[in-house]
Amino acid sequence: MKSVTLTVSALAIAAAAPAFAQSRENVQVAGSSTVLPYASIVAEAFGENTDFPTPVVESGGSSAGLARFCEGVGENTIDIANASRAIRDGEVETCAENGVDEIIEVRIGYDGIVFASQQSGPEFGAFEPSDWYSALAAEIPQDGEMAANPNSTWADVNGDLPEVEISAFIPGTKHGTREVFEENVLLQGCEDTGAYDQMVEMGMSEDDAEAACMAVRTDGASVDIDGDYTETLARIESNPDGIGVFGLAFYENNTDTLKVATMGGVEPSTETIASGEYPVSRPLFFYIKKAHIGVIPGLKEYASFFVSDEIAGPGGPLANYGLVPDPELADTQQKIENETTMSEEQS
């Protein structure tokens, strides 16, 4: 008998639950795992320094975050999407179809992508984008034809590199980092080695040639890492010859186990990335749903807190953790102040 009463009351609770889903008081953020560390620093400081509750920041990758962002407007959708790449036109369209037509784009700074190997492993020293293209491309033009990549050691690629098996751990396709890696390293290397021109001469269209440049070999020499940088680190630790792609901040936190190689002759650091000397860096963004400003308490305050000079500027906690400050931070602050959406920016 008791059990029946319990069942009835439990069902009643379940049915009544939506009724007491009160209005949300905290900001909800989701998206890029590269932006997550910075967002969590800001969220913690925001909760400690203001009277608003601490925002909730979820991970999951840029694409997943933007997809959730574009689901629609309302309290059960997220307010902010973090992204380690700019939003794509297709995503803007999806957003608009679901009623999210006013989006504010906020650039928080820059992040460097570094190439690091085990502290006690072989001395890679210096890389050029062309080395990475020749090492990782699926097919390379040879004698007027596309042939499977013949290189098996780094020395095959470039005589100055050590004679060790090619074993690279690169970010998987769900990461925004992958896009930057493909464009700034593989495509660049493809053009530098002249492979791109050869492909075009061979009669490929420009788009096909670009796609061929960025196609990564699948014979095991290159491994896609879909998890976080800690997974890449674990792979490197168990493979002395392995070389991994990391964010600058992650590398700087783990200098006791990792050593970094230069790219294009430039050592990655906050300074070389800010000056643009280091070739592989990308801007980091977050996107705000303007319709939620004024509805979700603390949303605008969180955004302005994030890009304030004290937080995102030089010497602030974000720069201290490894973010390269944006020299145009003042414009971004102004943009949040005026709530300028992306469509207003373009017109």
Binding site: A21, P37, D228
Partner: protein
């Protein structure tokens, strides 16, 4: 049998090679096979024990440092002007930290007169994030402004790892976060007793912290999150599961339809948990508009996952009650329902409880479905202030918190993740022990 009767017969002469004193080849073979089988069994158990010991050892070795912290105890004096100045800034906690670091720097330079001057940046690198603790103290105790107050604040995570032996002086190459020279100051502080190892209560009672502040991270809030989820699971899954199994076992007619239900319940028990997660996202969040990251939704999802386990174990324990009990109750005039609730159910209760606790323990360690309903990430930031807020405010759960920590860049968080595993295992051990205790205490055999 033939052997026994043959040797038992008094007059029969013993057959050649069939003495019971000496073993024949066949017996030796059979005995050897048994010995071998026993050895295989012992080897199998030995391998199991070896892995258990290795696992426990590695968990304890990596996780125990998470329970201690390196703390610095110093006298600190904050003036009213400094308080007002800090409160007027955007990043107030950083201002407090600046005052504290400069005060400690001055104190160090005063003590070590004649030595090399200690730089402000070096002190900043040695100390963890102390601003928030100092700000909270002075906001609550404004009368203490201008007086000497003794503060015990955490040192940075790298100093902690250096004193634990996890980081050596040689490892500190090219690190912005701690330089080899800073370790001289650390050694001095340890010698003078200002810096000491202490039990880290924050780890037990605290909430999650930003990636630059591993010293402030604690598992407390996510333990509460897990507790609320288990509460929801218990309140929903136990009555629904027990009612369903009683009906199926005692009342339902045997036909194609109930067969179909039975097969589906068994199948449901084997469905991967991530499937329940995506179902939860679609039904509870997108359709029913329940809040994201809420333990209520987590509990509902885990209820779906636990239900089959509870139904199966409840039906098994109902089946194990002898039919004579039911027959006796019905024979003295009890109705079917009275027979079940007065006689069968109490006898099956220990088995039901055991099944429920095992189901809860399984749900407690589940991470995958929580990924999809927003409980993984920087979530567990505050303690709920009541039942409703505990169910509806964003929170995380223990396994989700461990997963989040394991993905962070600072190696100190990796240590915290191992520490979190110890806490989780303690809870699981406790629940399993409770299940065994209940079974031993109330179990009846026929």
């Amino acid at each position: 049998m033939t052997d026994a009767t043959a040797s038992a017969a008094p007059d029969a002469a013993p057959r050649r090679g069939k003495s019971i004193v000496t073993q024949d080849t066949n017996t030796r073979k059979r005995n050897a096979a048994e010995k071998r089988f026993q050895t295989y069994g012992m080897i199998a158990i030995g391998i199991g024990v070896f892995f258990l010991v290795a696992l426990t050892w590695s968990i304890l070795r990596s996780g125990l440092p998470a329970f201690t912290e390196t703390a610095v105890t110093v006298e600190f004096n904050l003036s009213q002007e400094q308080f007002d100045e800090a409160e007027s800034q955007v990043l107030k906690t950083a201002a407090y930290e600046g005052f504290f670091v400069r005060a400690l720097q001055a104190q160090l330079n005063e003590e070590g007169a004649g030595d090399v001057q200690v730089e402000e940046d070096a002190v900043g690198r040695i100390m963890g994030n102390v601003g928030s603790q100092i700000r909270e103290f002075y906001r609550a105790n404004q009368d203490q402004l201008g007086q000497e107050v003794s503060f015990t604040v955490p040192a940075s995570s790298r100093v902690d790892r250096y004193l634990n032996g996890a980081l050596s002086r040689e490892d500190l190459t090219n690190s912005r976060f701690l330089e080899p020279e800073d370790l001289d100051i650390v050694d001095r502080l340890v010698d003078s007793g200002v810096m000491a190892n202490a039990f880290d209560w924050t780890f037990i009672t605290g909430t999650d912290s930003g990636v630059d502040n591993p010293g402030g991270a604690g598992i407390g809030a996510s333990v509460i999150g897990s507790f609320f989820m288990m509460f929801v699971v218990l309140v929903l899954a136990l009555p629904i599961g027990v009612a369903a199994s009683i009906y199926l076992e005692e009342f339902a007619p045997q036909n194609k339809f109930t067969d179909l239900i039975e097969v589906n319940i068994s199948n449901l028990a084997a469905v991967p948990s991530i499937v329940f997660g995506i179902l939860g996202l679609a039904v509870f969040i997108q359709f029913a508009h329940l809040p994201q990251s809420a333990p209520l939704v987590g509990g509902l999802v885990l209820t779906l996952m636990t239900l089959p386990t509870i139904i199966i174990s409840t039906r098994a324990s109902l089946k194990s009650v002898p039919p004579s009990i039911r027959a006796a109750a019905l024979g003295v005039g009890a109705s079917q329902m009275q027979a079940v609730f007065h006689h069968v159910l109490p006898l099956a209760a220990p088995g039901i409880l055991t099944g429920t606790i095992i189901g809860l323990a399984q749900a407690l360690g589940e991470t995958a479905p929580l990924l999809l309903i927003g409980m993984v990430g920087f979530v567990a930031r505050q303690y709920p202030d009541g039942l409703a807020s505990g169910l509806l405010d964003p929170n995380s759960a223990m396994p989700a918190q461990i997963y989040t920590w394991a993905a962070r860049a600072d190696p100190a968080f990796y240590e915290k993740a191992w520490g979190g595993i110890i806490v989780l295992l303690v809870f699981l051990l406790f629940m399993n022990a409770l299940a065994i205790f209940l079974r031993r205490k109330f179990e009846r055999r026929w």
